[in-house]
Subunit: 200 residues, 3 copies
Amino acid sequence: MQLQYYLELAGTLVFAISGALAIRERDHDLFGAGFTGFITAIGGGTLRDILLDSYPLVWIGDIYFLYAIFFGLLLAFLLPNYLSQLRKTFFLFDTLGIAFFTILGVEKSLSLGVSPEIAAIMGMFSAVMGGVIRDTLTNETPVLFRKEIYASACLAGAILYLILNYFEVARELNMLISISLVIALRLLSVKYKLSLPRLG
Amino acid sequence: MQLQYYLELAGTLVFAISGALAIRERDHDLFGAGFTGFITAIGGGTLRDILLDSYPLVWIGDIYFLYAIFFGLLLAFLLPNYLSQLRKTFFLFDTLGIAFFTILGVEKSLSLGVSPEIAAIMGMFSAVMGGVIRDTLTNETPVLFRKEIYASACLAGAILYLILNYFEVARELNMLISISLVIALRLLSVKYKLSLPRLG
Amino acid sequence: MQLQYYLELAGTLVFAISGALAIRERDHDLFGAGFTGFITAIGGGTLRDILLDSYPLVWIGDIYFLYAIFFGLLLAFLLPNYLSQLRKTFFLFDTLGIAFFTILGVEKSLSLGVSPEIAAIMGMFSAVMGGVIRDTLTNETPVLFRKEIYASACLAGAILYLILNYFEVARELNMLISISLVIALRLLSVKYKLSLPRLG
């Protein structure tokens, strides 16, 4: 559990950096960048916990999450150009992040007693809604509607986790497999520009 | 009460379809369409219940609401062209839906002990905020600011229900009258292109 | 405490007016104007209380807040041109309002037992998120990203309040100093067109 906790903090930090840097091209000041980094980092988990009535919210109950965000924002402020050059690294981190947060979101939802169907939706929300809220606030088309295969990769990983969980696959193995599926779907979709069919 | 429950499920299904199809003209894939259908179907009631601290949320506590949404999305995915031709039918369904959800929202709010003024607002929120959230996420001008008389018809119906309720009109009769008012206002405003005056 | 309560009602009324008038230039009807006024007035405090699980929400538990909003909207509807000429007056009122709501938000958050860091964020949210939600719904760039120094002035005031509070400065004196800081920062930034540096 210790490892998982540190991974969560690291994921939160990465989301804060990528959220703050996402704003760079636009005419926003440091505060705006910090605000969007903050929203990106906490948005998904916060929405999940409000929908499930799970209080206190993670970042309100545990100050280390706030510190992780502040540290991420500080890095983004001090090294914006350096970090922006690490585009591929960030893409990788973001992919790891959404995969990891999806499965954690599923597990938390299950532990709160909801049905598997709801847990799958909540897992996906945990991973992607921070970015959606950020994009909505900044008047951009939400990432959900833009990217090749993004939220749907999370949903697929969440469903796989729930199926393997139903068949009592050991938790660590299940996490490994499900997270790998999200990562694989995301990487392949970007590499081969795959996308889901459109309506009609 | 059985009838009311099935009507709620049917209304949820219709909202999911209309939400998914609303996205058609735009460059969104199946997942984006499903996501907007989902948000449209649950958004209003979810906002109402969060504001009133009423948990579990309806669609989280009762899996049949999720099934109604999935079924609606499936229909939208399989028959998009057919359903889109049913424009007038959908307009009618949507009108029935917002009228019905308004009054249900008022009743639920009253049963949670809030004042009539708050219940009127919550009834209107139940009906229209799903569409508002959908439009905000997809960067469209929310339906609230576009349509001839939309949310204000819901508010009028909610207020009428509360007045008749105060004078102890029987519930079924009251629902019938209030729902009819919402429908009449909406249909007349579209037919005769009526709109509220603008400010100043 | 009586004075503070009346100030809160007055602040809510002013926010409702400025929210309703903010929509004037656009093609919205009276209902749209009323809706945005309402959202502006309640948005920040509502978000704060949902995040902190503090129920009932202020405007749901105390009908006088709703009356203050209705009265503000009525004024905006009856005297739009007159009120719009009072631009400078409103700018001043808005500045007073965000300063006051920031400190009240900090105090409420502290009283709910959160850490000072969270209280600072919640104070700032109380003051500015109503406007952010309003701007998001109406597809404008949120005030947060536009104005010279707006939310960051609130954050600075919140932090000052918490520091003085830590050193046990008397509450009334502390409020006076912290509110003055927010007002001074805001006025100076507008007068001298100051802004925070941009990223990178």
